[in-house]
Amino acid sequence: MDLFLSITVLVALALIATSRRLYTARRSRFASLLISGGWPAVLVGVALGPHGGVVVTEETLTFASPLVVLVLGWVGIMVGLQARLEILRRIPRPHFTLVVGDIIFTIIGIGSIAAIGLAWWTSGEVNAAILITPWALLVASALGWSMETRSLRDESTPHDQSTELFLRVPSALASIAAIVLFGLLELIGTSSNSTGVQTLALHSSALHLGAIVALAVVLGVTGRFLLTRAGRSRANQLTVFLGLVTFVGGLSTELSSSPLFGATLAGFVLGNIATNDVLRFERFVVEAEHMIGVIVFLLAGLTADFHLTLIGMTLAAALVFVRIGLKLTLMRWAAVRQRRMAHSLTPVLSHPTVIRQSPIAVALALSLALVEPSVFHRRLLGIVLIVGVAADLASLLLWRLSRRVAPGSGGEAT
């Protein structure tokens, strides 16, 4: 009966999703913001998952772990491939300054809230070393912001590409920083757990890190060779790529590290020793970005546990409010700095896209739930998703408020 009900619900959702009325409604700014945030896929995942329609059970999710590894590895390599030195050298200094500022602000602001909230949530019954990984997740997921600016763009003003790049590039850099930060701290936290001694296990963490770096270098070099040998055949290149992604992701997981971290390192090595064949294939990798994004959000919806206590919900709310304050303060600080350099970024102050959570946060939380499956980590994933939705709605609200205050000049990307 449950299966019948679930199928009925899915069919109903499909009919609604393909109806003309929804197609029209989808064009609204509210709907386009939510769709671009990936939330419909999360909703479908929740509806299908163990905490919803139970079409996909916990056991099935366990068997689907290799799919999760593949998807996260794909994301990691895609991010790492972009971190080519030739690209990084082209990025103006103010973008890097903004990222450094974001990291500092986030570690101080979000880090404080996360530490207090996690200690309160666990009632202080666990050693601080165990909370390193959850703390790292909450901090890393708060770095950066959504790179999609289209849904909050004001059509009445000209499209300013420079401002959009100033919003998009630092966020991309922050995503890389988030993956590295979380990867490193997760190694420390995981090693501390595995030794059974509730202290920081820096020595074993360093060994694991060395192994992952060596793995990334080997796979990067091997990947270059294999992709070159695969020639121009898309099918051959895809086969090689899938093998690399699964291998680096799977081995990273076995080393108790996030597959995102290992794959990003491998992508970084591959991108910086790339041949024309590899660069040509990169287009194909990036072309699949939206599809991979939908799968990440779907898997997150399937995996997340939203049975949060009052403390958990309070933590989520606190993270949202602190995030809003921090990001707006960061942008104001950046704008003040830029004025000194005669580069006006006044419009950026009124662009609330910086409040939106970066999609990489969902991927990081999913990877934690994969590497260390536990109810607590699934609830952390739930918190990350709640923060994401709330931040998206807050950004839309602020955008509308800014337009009322200054119609035609406020809240746009230009």
């Binding site: 671009s36 990936g38 994301v75 895609m78 991010v79 972009q82 971190a83 030739e86 690209i87 082209r90 990025i91 790179m147 999609e148 289209r150 790049l165 998009r168 590039v169 966020s171 991309a172 850099l173 995503s175 121009r232 055949s233 898309r234 660069l279 040509r280 287009r283 990036v286 072309e287 970005e289 939206h290 991979i292 994004g293 999609p359 990489i360 991927a363």
Partner: protein
């Protein structure tokens, strides 16, 4: 005017009816461009080439999810469109070349359009 194509004015003032059609090629794979250009020159077909961007590429640049630095990648979109007005027999040769000599994966999309009227076209 010929019903099947446009008229072409010769330099001595007389008109010669030739069956001219417009050839439009959408070249999505940049590594097939050289072969196409060479073939067009071999068959005596001139044309105009413009850089273009596919819808998917536009969406990727406008709505990145994870790859925000892709917009800084130092290359063109890779897509080109070629517009040419040429005699039908030459265009047919070009299409035969595309179908017979080029790998399926590297073939451009090509369409021919009949023309009612042409002005400004010179030899």
């Amino acid at each position: 005017m010929s019903e099947s194509g446009g008229q072409k004015h010769e330099q001595d003032g007389s008109t010669a009816q030739r069956d001219l059609v417009m050839l439009v090629l959408v070249v999505a794979t940049p590594d097939s461009l050289d072969d196409l250009v060479t073939a067009m020159l071999d068959f005596g077909i001139g044309g105009t080439m413009v850089e273009s961007k596919g819808l998917a590429a536009h969406l990727r640049e406008e709505m990145p999810i994870f790859s925000g630095l892709a917009s800084l990648l130092p290359r063109a979109t890779g897509s080109r469109m070629v517009f040419s007005v040429a005699p039908r027999e030459q265009v047919d040769q070009m299409l035969d070349f595309i179908e017979g000599e080029m790998d399926h994966a590297r073939r451009p999309i090509g369409v021919t359009l009949s023309l009612e009227k042409i002005v400004g076209l010179q030899t």
